[in-house]
Symmetry: C2
Subunit: 315 residues, 2 copies
């Protein structure tokens, strides 16, 4: 189980290695939302997403001789860089339909990439086999205490930066796939900024967590491909993340692909940051869903192909 103490330990390990991303805002976004909007741009984190935090913490804490990971891409890059910075080998098992930039970047960061078919093959089985054969430690994308704790450092920073901005009550919207970032932030805020309530954001058709929060029990997604928000498409929340999310989070937001693209374009125009569709769903919910009081949207990643960004800018 991930405790707040694990998040504090993660923050010590990340100091000087992960970036402390700023808290951004724009009067133009406040006007659209009708309330103060703040954005935590984890696209500016090493490797372009928050995933570096969890990967760095897990590798630092576990001190493995080598690591293996499976991921739609952002976790892959985070693990690859964290491994390289620790001087150990990394094998990354990736779906063959992941964006080309994510596959290329993972290889360029020194990792060995093993591709699999998302529709017909079981990535867990592939990962387990390779881990056993080569003596590698599996770094799970979300359902692992050290990974959740690393992502939770985002929440520690939000607590501090929100207080500096005079915000002690409000909503914190988090793009949610398997729930590692959501659970980590929720635990950090529960301890450090209890007036800030976490709510999840997911794409239409892949809203397992919103449905689970409404039903009170885990729900699964019917499909696992076909969303432009590939970074946050996972079968269901994890065994470690779901109990935290259920206990601490408010009702989940669901946004359309078109809304995610509009949020990307507005982040470009007003904040000068590059978001991928999955990284923009919380900002989309902050801008296009009614609400009152300050809202902090986590912009979780920016690993987007140029063509997808051009599509967002032409909407």
């Amino acid at each position: 189980m991930t405790s707040f103490a694990l998040i504090e330990a993660a923050a010590e390990r990340l100091a000087g290695h992960a970036r402390r991303t700023p808290l951004l805002s724009s009067p133009f976004l406040d006007e659209i939302a009708g309330r103060p909007v703040f954005v935590k741009p984890e696209c500016l984190q090493h490797t372009g997403s928050f995933k570096f935090r969890g990967a760095w913490n897990a590798v630092s804490a576990l001190r493995p001789d080598g690591v293996i990971a499976f991921s739609s891409g952002n976790h892959a890059q985070g693990v690859a860089l964290a491994a390289r910075m620790h001087g150990i080998p990394a094998v990354i098992v990736m779906p063959a339909d992941a964006p080309a930039i994510k596959i290329d970047n993972t290889r360029a960061l020194g990792a060995e990439v093993v591709l699999y078919d998302r529709a017909t093959e079981d990535r867990d089985a592939i990962g387990a086999r390779l881990a056993a054969e080569r003596g590698l430690t599996l770094i799970k994308p979300f359902d692992m205490a050290e990974v959740i704790a690393g992502q939770g450092t985002t929440g520690l920073e939000i607590a501090e930066q929100a207080a500096e901005a005079g915000v002690t009550e409000g909503e914190v919207l988090v793009p949610c796939g398997g729930g590692g970032l959501t659970a980590g932030i929720a635990l950090a805020l529960d301890a450090r900024a209890p007036g800030l309530r976490v709510r999840t954001a997911e794409p239409e058709g892949f809203d397992d967590v919103a449905r689970a929060l409404a039903a009170g029990v885990v729900q699964r997604n019917a499909r696992l491909s076909g969303s432009i928000c590939d970074a946050i498409v996972t079968p269901a929340p994890g065994d470690l993340t779901w109990p935290v999310i259920r206990r601490l989070c408010g009702a989940g937001h669901v946004v359309s692909d078109a809304e995610a693209l509009r949020a990307m374009a507005l982040a470009h125009d007003r904040l000068k940051i590059v978001l991928e569709p999955g990284g923009a769903v919380a900002l989309a919910a902050a801008l296009f869903r009614p609400g009152s009081g300050p809202v902090i949207a986590v912009a979780s990643g920016g690993n987007v192909d140029r063509a997808m960004m051009a599509r967002a800018l032409s909407t």
Copy 2:
């Protein structure tokens, strides 16, 4: 004259109001440049460029009843927001051919915008007349001690952040129009990080400062329009900025529009930040000009139309 003491005073005025932008990097950019590259993303500053720093400092220091400014756009937005945050009126004299987003944003920030023809009218005369008629204080875009001092706070941050990254010797490349940012950073580094040498970056055809540095005397640009790098097209360096630039800066870099666009695309891909062409010329020089040792490129602004960013992404 702008002294280092004025920059230190500016830093105190800006604390808690301007953003402390991070220092970014990417192993992919290091590989392209063949040396360690760091980027100071002032596109993430309030209003999307470093200009907010100088505007805030001038308004805070001079405490005017109202302000007037003329600018190709970024200074306009900086002055407009600084005035609004101080509760005073702002009149902005802008060229009629400035990007639409800059005119719209300046108006949306509460300023009154007066347009003029860059080819046939004299903005200084228009500004002086309006200032006299309405009792407004002119906030010059670069040739004003308080403005240079405000921009110089960027250099204080670079000195600290470079030291944290272990960089005490190297080059700092700065997009240069009238030279306010360049002179401010050069003064700050001369005092706080004398191993970091400033070099200017300008677009082809508008390289007055590079030519002036080579000749030892002020040079002027033959044209004042026709560059995609509109933010840094000015007739010549200023009376206050040129002596500082001449004394402290190394030879100037000149880059093509195509190189600025490629730098914008790489900043999008690798740093997840949005740059305008004029804000990308220093990064272009860092990536595409030979050099050894660490290089820090100031990315001075990100106020770009969606169409121009789409153009950069399609190159």
